[in-house]
Symmetry: C2
């Protein structure tokens, strides 16, 4: 199976000067450039946990596996170079079915990789008697010293977010667009970004991670959080008594960016809105640790970070 799959895959891949050697050897070779750093992220997605194969199909599962890794590169302010795709594919009734599943998966993944100029340079294809597992490792580049870490937020920095939050389970968790264009625009315009993270486990939980890494706290003006239509929909039809705001604060897999930006720079970015998606300030970082929510009345309440804990 693997040989046929690799031949098919090689035909899909354009040549790239950044990849002197791609699929088909013991390892791939990537060019190194002076003044750059290599950025590496990996995510493993499992049927039944990150997607339900029988409901969403292999195309959507493959797309998501690529997208979550690209989202991590975006959160580092990095440009994609190459990705490596390892698969444990359930054995169907025969080789053809297994190959077919692998191809569908790649057909979901390849257009997204191509859109963001990320070569598929290798991987490992296996079949087994278990459920589908997809492990993607994405490699990117960033100018030396310019990566956005979680640890650089400073008290007084504005908390900016891209897009809107909540209710991704209604479909957006499979179809979201990783914020690489946004990240690239900010990097190429030398926007001052002190820290960044992508929201994979929940807005409040991922914000608390920036705070922990930066040894600071944050105040969220909850009325300013952009709520996605799906957050409202889920609040209305859900049985959990959660409001749209609850969903926005705690649902995972929004894959929007949270950015720590100094106040003057934040004011400029908010005025100019240089991205194709809205940039919104939802609060600011504080010297005092912990998360607080500021109500419309001005009252401050402790906010317990909530989201998906691994």
């Amino acid at each position: 199976m693997e040989l046929n799959f690799l031949r098919w895959l090689q035909e899909q891949m354009p040549n790239s000067a950044k990849i002197p050697l791609g699929i088909g050897d013991d390892a791939a070779l990537l060019a190194q450039q002076t003044g750059q750093q290599t950025v590496v992220t990996t995510d493993m997605l499992m049927d039944g946990t990150d997607f339900v194969l029988s409901e969403c199909g292999a195309f959507a599962a493959g797309r998501k596996a690529m997208a979550v890794n690209l989202s991590d590169l975006a959160a580092m302010g990095a440009k994609p170079v190459a990705a490596f795709i390892s698969l444990a594919i359930p054995r169907g009734s025969g080789n053809d079915e297994t190959l077919n599943l692998a191809q569908q998966l790649m057909q979901g993944l390849l257009p997204l990789a191509a859109e963001f100029e990320c070569a598929i340079a290798g991987g490992d294809t296996n079949s087994w008697h278990g459920r589908l597992v997809i492990c993607v490792t994405a490699i990117g580049e960033v100018v030396d010293g310019k990566a956005w870490r979680r640890s650089g937020a400073q008290p007084g920095d504005a908390i900016l977010v891209t897009g809107s939050f909540g209710g991704s389970i209604l479909g957006r968790h499979l179809s979201f667009s990783p914020r690489l264009r946004e990240s690239h625009l900010l990097q190429s315009h030398h926007a001052q970004v002190h820290a960044a993270i992508d929201v994979s486990d929940g807005l409040s939980l991922d914000l608390s991670r920036i705070c922990a890494a930066s040894s600071c706290g944050a105040i969220i003006e909850v009325a300013k959080i952009p709520l996605s239509p799906a957050a409202h929909e889920l609040a209305e039809k859900g049985n959990s008594q959660q409001t749209a705001l609850d969903h926005a604060l705690a649902d995972g897999e929004d894959f929007e960016l949270i950015l720590a930006v100094p106040p003057g720079e934040a004011a400029r970015l908010l005025r100019e809105q240089p991205l194709a998606v809205p940039l919104t300030q939802i609060g600011w970082f504080t010297a005092e640790q912990g998360l607080q929510q500021q109500l419309a009345s001005g009252e401050l309440l402790t906010l317990q970070p909530r989201g998906y804990e691994h």
Copy 2:
């Protein structure tokens, strides 16, 4: 679980100048150096396919997952830099059991990584209701243009191999040492190596892969193949009527290196034996495609490549 595991893991990791940012952010950062290329390989190992967890334990499974990736770096002539470990861990009776399994796995993996100066710089830890899956991505470096590809073998080149072959299933497939020291010695002494591969799927099958990539053929002097004690043992106790030579030619997971080396250089290496393991010439590459075996009588017979086909 993941947070406790990551804290524990961070404590195990020494700092490395090559890894400006390791575990704990959205991605890791690796330094890029002028004149180097990045080498990337990935292997996914599944319980029931690549190891049997209930028989070998998590320690051995973790060690193997690291070792097979390091073997791929050795086959490229590359030096390890960093590895990324993604896990789908079976949910035991509770968090403690899952954490315990993850730690055992890393305790098998970490000493091997440390031995070959490979930092563990990231990964993705998950638990699920399936069997254990371990996906390792290893990243190395090689001087620009000096990587050993599969495609450089030339007619007349000697086929050199490290170590001995066959019967790895009796235990060596879990305990083998990746041939990084050997690879590094050959690279640092500027040995001329036209092509290389590590034997993961079988000596004859992996040799045929060098031939296919290099558009050449090979003649194997079968009497010269170093047979491992395990190949003899398996032949004696096995019920399959296979000889020790059959095992050496077709068993997978020897993780020895096959090297294509020009004749003069091969003579020198065979005389000097610069490695800690024996270097043996088992034949030579030919312009005519296909594998042939030369018997002790001098007779040439077609040799069908055999081994583990994915």
